[in-house]
């Protein structure tokens, strides 16, 4: 190991820039730690105590000190060169012309620079979000609240105010939306078309919009409601407003609703409003019996994939069609060859999700085919994992759950936790299938396949050393116009031995069929 430091005279950078800078340097090859602080006596002493500096060095408190710890001298020297270049670069908002545009510090200042804006996206710590949303509403702006941890009372108050003033509040905890073709939060680049989506589920919205895109269709709007909107207390205010808006939108031919089952009173209101729209409506209330939803112009379906297909068929003026629980032939043919690769001890599916709705849908579908499936978000309390860090028999884990994301980025961005879990599952002789979701789009990791493949290969190596083979099943939720390059991501995963299906539902059924067929 090697450490080195560099002092840059009279250089000031704000704290956020320095934190981002330290992160960037840590990502460089061969670097373990990096720190950039003002070179005061006390900071130098702190670095010496922490072992990042071997001894005190002469410096002035007006200087910036960069300290790097890496595997060898060459790595740290290269990192210091890059670090100094990064720090000396002009602030990133200063364009080539040298004109620096100070970013707005408030909604009012934002409006001064963009007076025609009618929409605000709020992503602050939850305790500040409601106040900002209220300011925006008072300025006559629609609101998307990415923030969570907003109380239900605040949510009701904001949504009531918005409704009374003909405005829309998407959220709190609304991670995904596509408005006028612009992806917001975690969202994909989806073709424009004639299907309008309203969803209380982020990854549910991503799955249906991506499948619609892949089927050749497109969307008008994809409105997120936030996860609490369909609770009895909130009464589905945003979803009802969304249905009204899409009903009035001449470009929207078909309306698609996505949610876990709402409270019964809210479900009644939503279905009444959907019926009033007079347009064909597809409703996927994941876990609800489709027959209990289907009525008049409303088609209830069981899976997110069925919802996308039904909406596409209706948009093209076709019959909705009949949906089957059976595994399509293209995947059924893969079951036997996969089963033959397993040895006696390999019995279980281990499904490791970054998307919460994917995990929930997987649990519903796998539970129909397998005896019991354990989870951190189980369908029945008796199947709750006693220790979420260790799988029990068939297990499906939502790694986006708060339990796993405390102090670390979401697993759609940061793959370390899931990769560690893949290795852990590979060491378990009872693991037969590892199932993975791979989510593309804005907000997600720019190379998810690249992140996952080293762990997949390592897992296969571990299994091979114990004379086992693990079957990897997955699906990619994305479109060909997403920034990650869908085709390339799928190629990389297939080359690493992952069997890819086109949807979460088919991945769940295939994984269950492989372990059932033994």
């Amino acid at each position: 190991m090697a450490t080195a430091q560099r002092i840059i005279k009279n250089l000031y950078r704000d704290s956020v820039s320095l934190m981002q800078f330290s992160e960037k340097v840590r990502e460089l090859d061969g670097i373990r730690q990096a720190s950039a602080v003002m070179a005061t006596e006390n900071n130098i002493s702190l670095l010496v105590e922490a072992g990042l500096l071997l001894q005190s060095v002469p410096a002035s408190p007006n200087d910036l000190m960069i300290v790097v710890d890496g595997k060898d001298g060459a790595s740290v020297d290269a990192a210091l060169e890059q670090a100094e270049a990064m720090l000396k670069a002009k602030p990133t908002n200063m364009g080539d012309s040298g004109v620096q545009n100070m970013p707005p510090r408030s909604i009012e200042m934002g409006l001064e620079t963009m007076p025609a804006a009618n929409f605000v996206l709020i992503s602050t710590p939850g305790e500040y979000a409601a106040a900002e949303a209220r300011k925006a509403l008072h300025l006559g702006l629609h609101v998307m609240m990415f923030s969570d941890n907003v109380s239900i009372e605040e949510e009701i108050s904001l949504k009531q105010y918005a409704k009374n003033n003909n405005l829309l509040v998407m959220g709190p905890d609304c991670g995904t939306a596509i408005i006028n073709g612009v992806p917001l939060g975690f969202a994909n680049v989806v073709r424009r078309g004639d299907i309008g989506v309203i969803a209380a589920s982020g990854t549910g919205l991503q799955q249906v919009t991506c499948l619609i895109d892949r089927l050749g269709g497109g969307i008008t709007q994809a409105i997120g409601t936030g996860g609490h909107d369909l609770k009895s207390e909130v009464g589905g205010i945003t979803m009802l407003q969304g249905i009204e808006a899409l009903a009035a939108d001449p470009k929207t031919k078909v309306i698609l609703l996505v949610s876990k089952p709402p409270s019964p009173d809210v479900m009644k209101k939503v279905l009444e409003k959907a019926e009033e729209s007079g347009k064909p409506v597809v409703a996927i209330f994941i876990g609800a019996e489709p027959a209990n939803v289907t009525q008049a112009n409303i088609i209830g379906v069981k899976t997110l994939e069925d919802a996308a297909v039904a909406a596409m068929n209706l948009s093209q003026g076709k019959q909705v069609g009949v949906f089957s629980n059976a595994l399509p032939a293209e995947y059924a043919s893969l079951v036997e060859p996969s089963t033959k690769k397993l040895i006696q001890t390999q019995k279980y599916v281990r499904a490791l999700f970054s998307g919460g709705t994917f995990c929930y849908e997987n649990l519903l579908l796998m539970s129909e085919l397998l005896a019991c499936v354990y989870s951190n978000i189980p369908l029945k309390k008796e199947y709750k994992l006693k220790d979420v860090w260790k799988s029990t028999e068939h297990t499906a884990i939502d790694l986006g759950d708060d339990l796993f994301t405390q102090g670390r980025p979401h697993p759609m961005i940061d793959f370390r936790l899931r990769n560690d879990r893949i290795i852990q599952e590979a060491k378990d002789p009872s693991t037969a299938v590892i199932l993975l979701d791979v989510v593309l789009g804005h907000g997600s990791n720019m190379n998810p396949a690249g992140e996952l493949i080293p762990a997949i290969l390592q897992a296969q190596k571990i299994a091979a050393e114990a004379n086992r083979q693990i079957i990897f099943v997955g699906f990619v939720c994305g479109t060909s116009t997403d920034p990650q390059n869908l085709t390339r991501q799928e190629e990389l995963l297939r080359d690493a031995g992952v069997i890819l299906t086109k949807s979460n539902a088919q991945a769940a059924r295939l994984a269950a069929a492989i372990v059932s067929g033994r």
Partner: protein, 297 residues
Amino acid sequence: MQLQAVSIGSAVPQNNFNATIQSLFVSSLNLRLDNYDKLITILVSDHYDLPQGIRVNQTLPIQPLNIGGAAVSRGGIIRFESSPLAIDLRGAKIWGGKLPRLNGPTEQAWSIIWQTLNAGQIQSKSDLIAEELFQPDHAPHLTRNLSMPVRGLIAAAERFDPHACTDAAKKMIGLGPGVTPTGDDILIGFMAGLYCMLGCKTDRLNFIEEFGKGLFCLSKKTNEISRTYIQHAIKGEFSSSMVGLIEAIRAGDEGRLICATKSTMQIGHSSGMDSITGFLVALAAWNSTSFYTKYKD
């Protein structure tokens, strides 16, 4: 392009001056006044005033400014070398930065601010959690290094010992990440807490004056920007957010107090939170609270 300053701090010269650009940030820049060891700050904000600040509330389309470039103020308008940008100081209101006094009991307010502060620090994953200063065993390295000196500040203020207080501050000055390091921000908040409880008590005034002298000497051990804030604090001059917090305590309205605390906490990356930490430390010393007593035991 000429912008109108909304407010200027009392430390900003009213007459002509020459200056150079000392540092440039995304939403502020610092000017070093020629012939003075003094910085003034031009900042974009819709509400935040500083004793050394010139506040504008519009996006600043600054033409190619460079560190070391010249700025001159003539007739109340600041102009910059190689840039059409000008800032008109005439007619801007003056921010004095003097703190209101706290006379009554503060124990309830202290607890509310303390709880709001710690919750905010935990949620924002701040480098420093105030409570950990008093339970440092499993705290990060920075907190452990600050823990003893912060306790030292309290003990020294309780017995009006400015020399012991300066010794404690010596271990904090310049310590921590950022342009205004955590240790400095705590000391600035500490000074605010002392000043607002000054009242007419001679022992307190003597303590502040003597500790101020010690802190002034120590301020040379931190960087020029942070030193500016500390030197204003020594003179009893603070930001509008600190004044707002003390006014909220005086008003005795819990909702307003929480709002003012959160507003102050939003200043900088962690500067606001660190300043409140120091402020509460001073209040604990001179207006002893039962909440703090448990840590002393």
